[in-house]
């Protein structure tokens, strides 16, 4: 798990397939372990899908009994697993935190810092609409008049950003402030490269997003 991979990918330069793969592995791991949905990296996913497609074509040229074919297939299965699990994890969060995510995403889209891919955003909106429709049809439209509202704020589930997570620092980051919830006893810690910690997610959410720490 290399830190440089994450930084490279923002630029429009050629990166090798193994770097893309490592990046996706790290993204998957972070997505699995963070309480909130993380910014999408569709560029990486599409790049890897392209690699898979290319490889599948090559495998088809090999005789079925070729040992190399089964090795390549095994590797592709491993990569497909990561991609599927990564995307499924995102869908699970989109469904669970649907109302919060749709609201936040509307604002993020305005500022061009969207976390969801266009497909994911469409999925989230459709999902929310379908739930609203179902609840109205089965319950809300049948209860007394002043109780019929679909109270979106009461229904919203918010990710628990204060929950504790394990992390490993990819590079040294100094001066992380662990805010005391009573306001007067803030503590400051340094994350040295390679060190591991358990702390509240909200203090290091930005570092997860910019790849300076890895959730473990």
């Amino acid at each position: 798990m290399d830190t440089e991979d994450l930084e490279l990918s923002d630029e429009e330069e050629e990166i090798t397939a193994d770097v893309v793969l490592k990046t996706i592995q790290n993204l998957w791991q972070n997505e699995r372990l963070s309480p909130e949905i993380l910014p999408h990296r569709n560029d990486m996913v599409e790049c890897m899908l392209g690699q898979i497609q290319h490889m599948e074509r090559n495998i088809n040229k090999l005789p079925k009994t070729d040992l190399r074919a089964s090795i390549h297939k095994m590797e592709l299965n491993r990569i497909k697993y990561i991609i599927c699990n990564y995307l499924k994890t995102r869908l699970d969060k989109i469904e669970k935190y649907c109302i919060t995510i749709v609201n936040d995403e509307k604002q993020r889209t305005e500022s061009g810092t969207n976390y969801l891919t266009p497909s994911e955003f469409r999925y989230a909106q459709e999902y929310l609409l379908s739930i609203e429709h179902h609840l109205k049809e089965t319950i809300l439209n049948r209860v007394p008049g002043n109780m019929q509202a679909f109270e979106i704020n009461k229904m919203a589930i918010v990710p628990a950003l204060q929950s504790h997570v394990f992390l490993k620092a990819n590079e040294t980051v100094n001066g992380i402030v662990l805010e005391d919830h009573f306001g007067d006893q803030d503590e400051e810690i340094d994350l040295e490269e390679g060190s591991q910690h358990i702390l509240q997610y909200k203090f290091i959410a930005d570092l997860v997003k910019n790849g300076k720490v890895q959730l473990v």
Binding site: Y81, I139, M147
Partner: protein, 195 residues
């Protein structure tokens, strides 16, 4: 007592955490009826509170009961939605009839919408690069070629495996074979698993 029926409804869900029970249409109807009664009582008393202040507390208690019923009814539906979702991942877009029966019509509509939405999403994956989508319901477990060691009991001859490998099964020879591909031969007594 207000709100008792709705608790029974939630307990019903709670009892079967993993599985879906039949949609309890009748109980929901009763709870909604209770809500209408409470609502009517409140409307009458609310008009009278200007003369009789002591009614105010009664009105508030009824209002809380109404809110609670609403909240619990929605929780019941939401809990079922989560269970219905997993059906899509397990069975695909066509439900076996015995499971279909457990859903209300509105739930079945919801299931169809969920199913379509998910299918649209999966088809969109990789579309920009000419990919025809990915089925996310596959590949959800870490791939393992699960092999077991087996002992051959009789001379069987050649066995071609799914990956194209050909194994010669001779009496007393030992092999590592994919678990899934040698179950039949084990049942037939041709192979024996060595643990």
């Amino acid at each position: 007592m207000f709100g008792e029926k709705v608790i029974e409804l939630l307990k019903e869900s709670e009892r079967n955490r993993e599985t879906l029970s039949p949609f309890n249409d009748e109980k929901i109807r009763q709870i909604i009826e209770e809500m209408h009664i409470l609502f009517k009582l409140n409307m009458n008393d609310a008009n009278a509170t200007s003369e009789n202040k002591s009614l105010w507390t009664t009105v508030q208690v009824r209002h809380s009961a109404l809110e609670r019923n609403k909240r619990c009814l929605l929780a019941y539906l939401y809990d079922r939605i989560n269970k219905i979702k997993t059906l899509r991942w397990e069975f695909g877009s066509v439900l076996p009839p015995d499971i279909r029966e457990l859903l209300s019509d509105s739930e079945y509509d919801w299931f169809s919408k969920y199913s379509t939405n998910l299918a649209t999403f999966m088809r969109s994956l990789g579309q920009d690069i000419g990919y025809s989508g990915i089925d996310l319901t596959e590949n959800l477990r870490p791939p393992k070629s699960l092999y077991i060691e087996v002992l051959c009991i009789t001379d069987y001859g050649k066995l071609e495996l799914e990956d194209g490998d050909v194994v010669m099964l001779k009496k007393n020879s030992r092999h590592f074979l994919p678990t899934s591909e040698c179950q039949t031969l084990i049942r037939q007594g041709i192979l024996k698993q060595i643990t």
